[in-house]
């Protein structure tokens, strides 16, 4: 394996020479800024062997480096050993980003190449600017991996299918009209879109091109009087194509996209520089006026409509039932059956799969037993499962795709004895989760303004976690979506009514354990006073939180009340859906503290 990495790097370096460039940059993503990639775009793994879900690679004639974030530091160190690729820490204080590293390692006058399809407009500009300071040029080149990667997989031919309006809540025509109105407000008439979940939402279509995200590969150009969808035509049934045509959607071949853009002239076009790839921008910029802003579709999509929210609430009940059944199974079998952290995740998926409308997991579950809980985004393979015992605690982060909603939940549950320190840490993490759940804030508030509510108890105790607190969740769509985010980093997008977000403070003691408690919430209207319009959160997730791990003496009365009220609601919501054999168990899990 390590040898094959070296060979690939060597082949890449030969191509770099042919193109007359001194370095090559691999963003690790696809032309759609996707989180989960079809095999074709797993370029980072291909070139480095690193299997984490986040990272960039830069290669010069004699050096190579891979950047990833705290989640993957241990894993990357391990996987990169012997490849000659250096691991660089990213998203930490004083991080040296790829562009700075390239500027340090290349002489003035050098050229850095990249496939401009795989970086956004913003990324390309920032990169170019950073390199320019040292008189290094960033050049758009063909995708060198096209040559180096011999049996490179194609985009899957999986069929795209329709999501009925009874689940979506709005027709694609209604969505197009709403979009056209918003575009008009921004002084433009046309929107060019490359994000796959935006296409899926806009057209009420779904697909299975990548794991976990029910999306299909495509692009679109849309406005008041135009709607052109670019998709591999093999992926669409004749009936669906006819239906789309009859509703005014022109369906064109995926590969025709850039050529089509090149023919647009004299228009005012709206693009999201954070998501549209630079090749698309290049094709448009010379002959059109470009207006940049947060994707209008992302904004519309993030404010779930009443039908979508009803679906979410229903999906949460199904998810809660699956989780309680699973926890019961776990209790009955822990210490008796052979269970590993890997089989734990598989079993949990089996319980979810029994629920109506289940379409698959919403991401690869993260199951961390004892010390492995401290590895933030650990993914255990079938062959390296760690056996579970009736001892310590286990953290599991998992979710389901249901036809009516997507779920994402983390619980940390007791399997046996835990330390006093664990109890204290668990309680403090839960205080953060409750703190954010209880937030009230005026219209205009952004995620970075309220993130502290999830961290305050931790900060008071010299504790912290190195990731965000809340991400948007799609409606039977991507488990991670924007445009808002609850985290320290500034993000100009507001928290708005209908936004569905995770709430997942956590704490990791390396070598000992990890703790995370995650609910999903929806932002709702609270009240309107003469001092403003106030919003708050309604918790969507319906699953017990392990009360046996709490040091109640650390809780305020408000926190105790919140938890008891939550458990009362979980009990009332799930009991009618659970077989009687689970009732006593549910009562025990949700009893007052």
């Amino acid at each position: 394996m390590k040898e094959s990495i070296k060979e690939k790097l060597s082949a890449l370096r030969q191509e770099m020479q042919k193109q007359n460039i001194d370095a090559w940059y691999i963003s690790g993503t696809d032309p759609h800024s996707s989180e989960y990639l079809p095999k074709r775009w797993e370029t980072r793994e291909f070139i480095s062997g690193f299997t984490g879900s986040y990272g960039m690679v830069a290669v010069t004639s004699d050096k190579a480096a891979l950047w990833t974030d705290t989640r993957y530091f241990l894993q990357a160190e391990e996987e990169l050993k012997g490849t000659g690729i250096e691991m660089m820490k990213f998203r930490v204080p004083d991080a040296i980003p790829p562009e700075a590293w390239l500027a340090q390692n290349l002489p003035s006058g050098s050229k850095v190449g990249l496939d401009a399809q795989t970086v956004t407009i913003v990324q390309f500009r920032a990169f170019r600017k950073a390199l320019k300071k040292k008189n290094i040029t960033l050049v758009e080149t063909p995708d060198l991996l096209g040559v180096v990667w011999e049996d490179r997989p194609l985009i899957p031919k999986d069929e795209a299918f329709e999501l009925e309006v009874k689940y979506a809540g709005k027709t694609r025509t209604e969505k197009q009209q709403q979009l056209a109105e918003e575009l008009k407000n921004r002084g433009t008439g046309l929107h060019v879109v490359s994000m796959l979940d935006e296409l899926a939402w806009l057209y009420n279509l779904r697909g299975t091109d990548v794991p976990y995200n029910p999306v299909f590969t495509g692009f679109c150009v849309i406005g008041k009087s135009e709607s052109t969808l670019f998709i591999d035509l093999d992926k669409m049934s004749a009936d669906l194509k006819d239906k789309l045509n009859s509703e005014g959607v022109r369906v064109k071949e995926y590969t025709a996209f850039y050529g089509y853009l090149g023919k647009i002239k004299g228009q005012t076009i709206f693009v999201d520089p954070e998501t549209l790839n630079y090749s698309a921008y290049s094709a448009l910029a010379a002959n059109n006026e470009i207006i940049e802003g947060t994707s209008v579709i992302a904004l519309l999509k993030a404010q779930k409509n009443a039908v979508e929210l009803k679906g979410f609430r229903n999906a949460m009940k199904k998810d809660g039932v699956a989780l309680v059944e699973f926890l019961y199974w776990l209790k009955e079998n822990i210490g008796k059956q052979n269970i590993t952290d890997y089989s734990f995740g598989v079993k949990l998926a089996e319980f979810r799969a029994k629920q109506p409308g289940f379409k698959g997991e919403s991401f690869n579950p993260i199951v961390g037993y004892k010390d492995r809980g401290a590895i933030v985004h650990l993914h255990v393979g079938a062959n390296d499962g760690k056996p579970l015992a009736a001892d310590g605690a286990i953290l599991f982060d998992s979710g389901g795709q249901y036809i009516d909603g997507t779920t994402d939940i983390t619980r940390t549950v007791r399997l046996g004895d835990v330390s006093e320190q664990f109890i204290r840490d668990y309680t403090i993490v839960l205080q953060g989760m409750i703190g954010l759940s209880r937030a009230c804030f005026p219209y205009g508030t952004k995620g970075c303004h309220i993130d502290v509510l999830a961290r305050q108890a931790m900060w008071n105790n010299g504790m912290n976690y190195g990731h965000g607190t809340g991400h948007g969740v799609g409606h039977f769509l991507n488990v991670h979506e924007g445009p808002f985010a609850i985290r320290q980093e500034y993000n100009e997008n507001l928290m708005l009514p209908g936004n569905v977000t995770s709430n997942e403070p956590a704490f990791y003691r390396e070598g000992l354990y990890g703790i995370r408690t995650e609910n999903m919430m929806v932002c709702v209207e609270k009240e309107k006073t003469e001092y403003g319009r106030f919003l708050c959160f309604e918790t969507l997730t319906l699953c017990p939180i392990d009360t046996t791990l709490i040091d109640k003496s650390l809780f305020t009365e408000t926190e105790i009340n919140w938890l008891n009220d939550y458990h009362k609601r979980v009990n009332t919501s799930l009991k009618p859906l659970l077989k009687e054999k689970y009732h006593e168990f549910l009562d025990e899990l949700t009893k007052e503290i």
Copy 2:
């Protein structure tokens, strides 16, 4: 008066014609982005007759308009009557800013002129960009008021004086070395500075050119091997000039500044685009490489050294003594003597003036009795004082300049009966003040991350306030300084150890009352754990908070403890400095709740 305004406008229009420009813009500030202006730069008042402290003016060949904010709408309407100048509302929703008004009122191809000394680099660029959309050019012209304004006052000749190192903590040579180090980290060797408080700090000099801010008018060019101070030479004694020279500071005539910049060539120069004026930038940009960023001096100045902090702590004791003496006087005389909100402020300044090292007030005090407390930036004149009675409550925001530190404090105190609603509101505001006082946060935190801690109790109750929560305070310098700020608006500058900030949540019920409780705090190191370096705040202000206005039942135990601990510290710190007649009164004001 109104006629003279018309004559001035007419004279200005003649100059505009001579310069071949179609409109003239007056920013209303000076070449140093100052908050308080010397008479010479009161250009807005000269041309319009409007006497408010905030506003801009634009004049075309046939129209003229003045922009100001909510504070001054009534006053401006009144003062502008008959002048032909239209009042435009600014800082309100849907406001038409000057650049938009100019674009509306001028044909394509027009030229707008301004004295580029009076706008910052950022302001000039934004203005130019907005006008460019309508093909209108922004041109730098000479200051036309130089011709129109016949008896224009000069910059005051007040002497600049030295702040001894025993107060400043560092010599100017040490500061220059520290600055050179920071400049080197930014890839530059020279810093051009126009902010008056930055000059004052850098050279350990103070002045009296404007009210409240102990600064002198000047510019400087400084780096590792150069330190050139531009100042009216009449403002500096021969001894001081000799001393500066002997320490390597070249002193040049104030008016030589722009000419000097024009001769700098081939350098890499650091400027702060938010504060440096555009004329200075213009003089440099063509022949040098410009690196832009937050002023290095502002950053260094904001992290107070140990001597400065010792001074602050001492100044707080003096301020606390003056305030307790004043509160005693108030208690003895309210309802007996004739006291107005105006004379209240005068009397308070008299108590401060008795303290050693007092150098004046740090700003024009804001004293709001009953309903006037809800007018956020009220300044009562001698002739419109409102009589105080032994009823309701009074809000007062005031501060002193002492040789060893600057103070800024707001208290809301009971004069007699208040409503239940007042008690509740007061308690909630205080919860916010305590919430921020108790904040712990990791290194890397910005003001917008922790602002919510001062607002959370309010937001939970549908309440809010429309201004920031915390601003930096200078050391025997400006009571408002940057670069950090605790407010909702994003500001990239971190909260850093040594930063001195106000903490002033507030609440205003229009027509009823205003409530604000403000302490000053210093950011300090708290602990270093494996999860980061944690900071917190130490409260500097030493003055009782009116406990008779608190509804204790709303407080958590933590809040009660914080307040009791604070009052214990106030008592212990001030009692030894107060005459015995005040001791019982102090005990009463600081007793446990």
